[in-house]
Symmetry: C2
């Protein structure tokens, strides 16, 4: 880049920032501009209260364009080969109308502030595919907060025209429940021959799965994987039937060789036909919506406190008083709540 180009680039960047109102972001998202979609999600993830107001306005605009997609949750313990699987799986869907968005929910991000999908180099092909939008996991204080933001991000991705949404998470418990409550289809990746303890953790997750895929079925591992698939198929018979009457499928695949990836694709299509025909697709979406109503409401109510600069200032003062041992956290909270209540009554 010569200096004129750099000047141009800086000017454009500044203009873009200035123009980032909900209206301009929405126009960009609608037209399929990936930068606008990214900026929109950044706005959603922001902790600043003024951003929250803009984010809510943006979501309201995107809502009428959302919903027309298949939302797929993908989970599995670290090492199961999620990235390789998503690389292939996402590649297949990217050829379809609307392309793919890949999002992540990561329970550990509250600790390490790290994120899965952070290392985009693990998904070389997807990262440069023009029909694919990839977004790493947002950092957040609580898993619930992270999940709520992911759910709002799905709405933006759908408004951008993506017809397939992949939501990745790591297979360690609580996060799966969150992801399950925002997707239509839940896919569990498993290793053959993993220890019993690991399987113990996953029993609850297995019950939630619409498909169980034994990964790394290549080389010496093929027979072991097939045996594991048969065992899981038997085990699934012990679970109560799904309300949507879908019978979970079990199969092996090798993302390395790209083997059986078409079966994964075909399974999703069969599922979509099945649940759309018997009405459970729409029913399940509305039930999820109902569940999320309380979360959205809670966030709105709390924003009434946290958007008030004076109250936030008082919160910081009370935090210091707790640190100094002047009052307990319960007394400090009670005091702040009284101030909030009094403010409301004026």
């Amino acid at each position: 880049m010569n200096s004129k180009n750099i000047d141009d680039w800086i000017r454009k960047k500044q203009e873009r920032r200035l123009k980032s109102t909900p209206d301009t972001l929405f126009a960009g998202i609608k037209s399929g501009d990936k930068t606008a979609l990214s900026a929109g999600i950044t706005l959603i993830e922001s902790q600043l209260s003024e951003h929250r107001v803009l984010a809510n306005a943006l979501i309201q605009k995107c809502l009428p364009l959302s919903g027309d997609s298949i939302r797929i949750g993908i989970t599995g313990v670290p090492g199961v080969g999620k990235s390789t699987f998503i690389e292939h799986f996402g590649g297949l869907f990217s050829k379809e109308d609307g392309g793919v968005a890949v999002l992540a929910v990561d329970p550990s991000s509250a600790v390490s502030r790290g994120s899965i999908l952070g290392d985009k180099t693990r998904m070389n092909d997807l990262a440069v595919n023009p029909n694919v939008f990839i977004r790493p996991s947002p950092a957040g204080d609580t898993l619930g907060g992270v999940a709520q933001k992911t759910r709002e991000s799905i709405i933006l991705c759908e408004a951008a025209g993506h017809k397939t949404i992949l939501v990745e998470t790591v297979g360690v418990g609580q996060s799966e429940v969150m992801v399950k409550s925002m997707v239509d289809f839940f896919l569990l990746l498993m290793l053959s021959g993993a220890g019993d303890e690991l399987q113990g953790i996953k029993k609850g997750i297995m019950e939630m799965a619409d498909a169980l895929v034994i990964t790394k079925a290549d080389g010496d591992n093929v027979q072991k994987a097939k045996l594991a698939a048969r065992e899981y198929k038997n085990a699934l018979h012990l679970f109560p039937p799904n309300p949507n009457e879908w019978i979970p499928r079990v199969f092996t695949c090798s993302a390395l060789n790209g083997e059986n990836m078409d079966e994964a694709m075909e399974t999703i299509n069969s599922f979509e036909n099945h649940v759309k025909l018997n009405g459970s697709f729409e029913k399940s979406r509305r039930e999820q919506d109902k569940k999320w109503l309380t979360e959205t409401l809670k966030e709105l109510i709390l924003s009434g406190f946290f958007a008030d600069a004076e109250l936030v200032e008082k919160l910081k003062r009370n935090e210091q008083r707790v640190i100094d041992g002047e009052i307990s956290s319960f007394q400090a909270a009670e005091e702040l709540y009284q101030a909030y209540q009094n403010g409301r009554r004026i």
Copy 2:
């Protein structure tokens, strides 16, 4: 029991129910009555808003009597032998002044409504020990909610005179962070020779540990456990030093034979001396308090909505409208928030 005894028992039970005001509960808790302590924690765990008011009053009463204890978090994957360890470890502490309270935080309870510690038969001796109070994990909608209730339960247990509080959790990520933020000492149980993947999950948790105990160091396993202990000791050198200047200890134990359990006990005592001498005990408690201030405040603010019968009625109506597809969850939440705001302004 003959019929007179049964009548007596029923009458006493009814009397107890009628008497369960914060005052009578507090009197019972203070005198070391386990039934009162149980009833107090049940009150804290209740989702009913009228119970919430009583629970807050009870906590306020207990607060001045709380704090004088050592709070110990214990974690490890399923199968590591937590129950057997706690059975022995709790037994040792039960002989000390004040006795032990054992509480549990279980991230999976939001899914299965099951709970760790639910099966008290796993802790035969502790369950019948008069100096021990055992309480299974509360069921809750969110991990944050469960953790907040556990923290309040700690205050009640301390007011009841317990000088050692054990908080058990399963080793799968998010829940450890919660437990770490409410205990003084964090003990991680590990198996020797568990797979690399399992260890991957636990890296973040290892950083939080004040002691790392390799369990099941008995029979053929002794050498393997000792080797693992040496390796972990080396690995811990790579972590940044703790602000409290405590150097995490690593050792093996066999809860089966009761071997090395005294080392666990001695470690806790050394730790307590160390952090109380250099002032970091008090400092860390206050910092935890500060962190929990926001959580307590959030709960108070939200109770302003959820204690209002009319608003809760409206919430239920809007949930039905979402199920019927009349409005989106975002619109429903916005409408409820407006109603809440209008109510405040009157």
